[in-house]
Symmetry: C2
Subunit: 220 residues, 2 copies
DNA sequence: AAAATTTGTTAGATTCGTCTAACTTTATAC
DNA sequence: GTATAAAGTTAGACGAATCTAACAAATTTT
């Protein structure tokens, strides 16, 4: 019982936008996939029949265990692909998402096993998101948002989220990359913009909008 | 005006099974794609409307110049992918076709340009088939079939055709590969099977069915 | 608590790619 | 040259995935 490319994209979206308790609203899913709500409803009934989604009228959507596993495996292929494209094909982290969005649907265990092996079994993708294991399980480390840190903190940039190509190009322009050590010099109370120093740069300013997309680990 | 995956597969099949004059019968295409004739007819009308195919009732099908170009570009992606999988990912030549069949539909010029570059602009795929250029043009060298050679000939194995996975595994089992120098020792008149020597092997027997799938260049 | 808004469902239509059944045209056999 | 077979087309149906319009339920505002 194989899922269509379309079904795979619904599963993946359900997985990605689930809140802490695993719930997703129809409107949210509709917006994410840019597909009208009635279409989403009918697809949810279909996925419910395939035991991939828990569906009850007017209740929030939830992936079943089976659905969560299948979604995880697609996301695994997506993130392995992104890592492969960056590490083995020298594409920029801002270029790989759209390609991975397509390659994640390739049916070929050996192809992705080979990628995994060539990359030496990576744990995270080029944006710092964890790569689900071969059972579809994934765990996020508990990073903080840079926007939640305080002046004086020293942190390491560990992941970037809500990564559009434009956002990643902004980071490229500022010479920022995963693993970068950052010192927070000050925070502007008015707009929560911050001033940081890193590498040879001494007073770069980041808007709050940027800081909310940067996940960091505090360094002792 | 982008073509669907389905349309791409029709174009590719038309390209691949065209005879010398570029003609293809509906029944042939139907058989190749494993799609019933009425479906093929209606798709041909659709492709004719898109100026990709010349279609007249009861006449053989022919790709237009435009159709031939688009088909060539898909086959280019297919063969580049096969080469990449063999050269850069260490898959066997018997394993790559099914993966390439899917990846050929990926929309991302940069992805395939990168492959091309990493492979140093290869001219042929792992089975010896020529890779169409970036305009979709392709030329076959004029190889002979091994089945058309004579006892005493010395030849180089240059390409393999009608390559199923089983056939390629047979060649693996016999230690045969592209570029191999082969001496024809004798030909059995009854069934046209041949005895050859190559590398350290001194009397391997190949059936006519095998020889018809091996393309060779005669060595002076 | 009534009104207004947002969220979600139902019903019915549309496009794509496929099929089967029935018919027509072309090619082959006798 | 007629009969038979093969190849090709037409007509009508169907499932998948989408949409719009209309309606219903749930939530928020007043
Ligand atoms: Mn991505
Ligand atoms: Mn996708
Ligand atoms: Mn191939
Ligand atoms: Mn294909």
């Amino acid at each position: 019982m194989i899922n269509s490319l379309t079904e795979e994209n619904y599963l993946k979206a359900l997985f990605n936008i689930a809140n802490q308790s695993g719930e997703v609203n129809v409107a949210e899913l509709s917006k994410t996939l840019d597909i009208k709500m009635p279409t989403v409803t009918s697809m949810m009934k279909k996925l419910a029949k395939k035991k991939l989604v828990h569906y009850e009228s007017y209740k929030p959507l939830r992936l079943t265990e089976k659905g969560r596993k299948e979604a995880g495996l697609i996301i695994r292929k997506h993130r392995l692909t992104e890592m492969f494209l960056v590490e083995k094909m020298n594409l920029g982290w801002e270029d790989v998402h759209d390609i991975a969005e397509q390659i994640e649907h390739i049916q070929s265990p050996v192809f992705f096993e080979k990628m995994d092996e060539m990359l030496d079994y990576p744990k995270v993708d080029p944006h710092g998101s964890p790569i689900p294991d071969s059972k579809g399980k994934v765990v996020w480390k508990d990073y903080s948002k840079l926007s939640d840190c305080e002046a004086g903190d020293t942190v390491r940039l560990s992941a970037v989220i809500k990564t559009t190509s434009e956002f990643l190009k902004l980071l490229n322009g500022k010479g920022m990359y995963l693993g970068l050590k950052i010192k927070i010099k000050s925070i502007e109370p008015f707009d929560k913009s911050i001033v940081i120093s890193y590498d040879k740069r001494n007073a770069e300013v980041l808007s709050n909008l940027v800081c909310e997309r940067l996940l960091v680990e505090k360094i002792v």
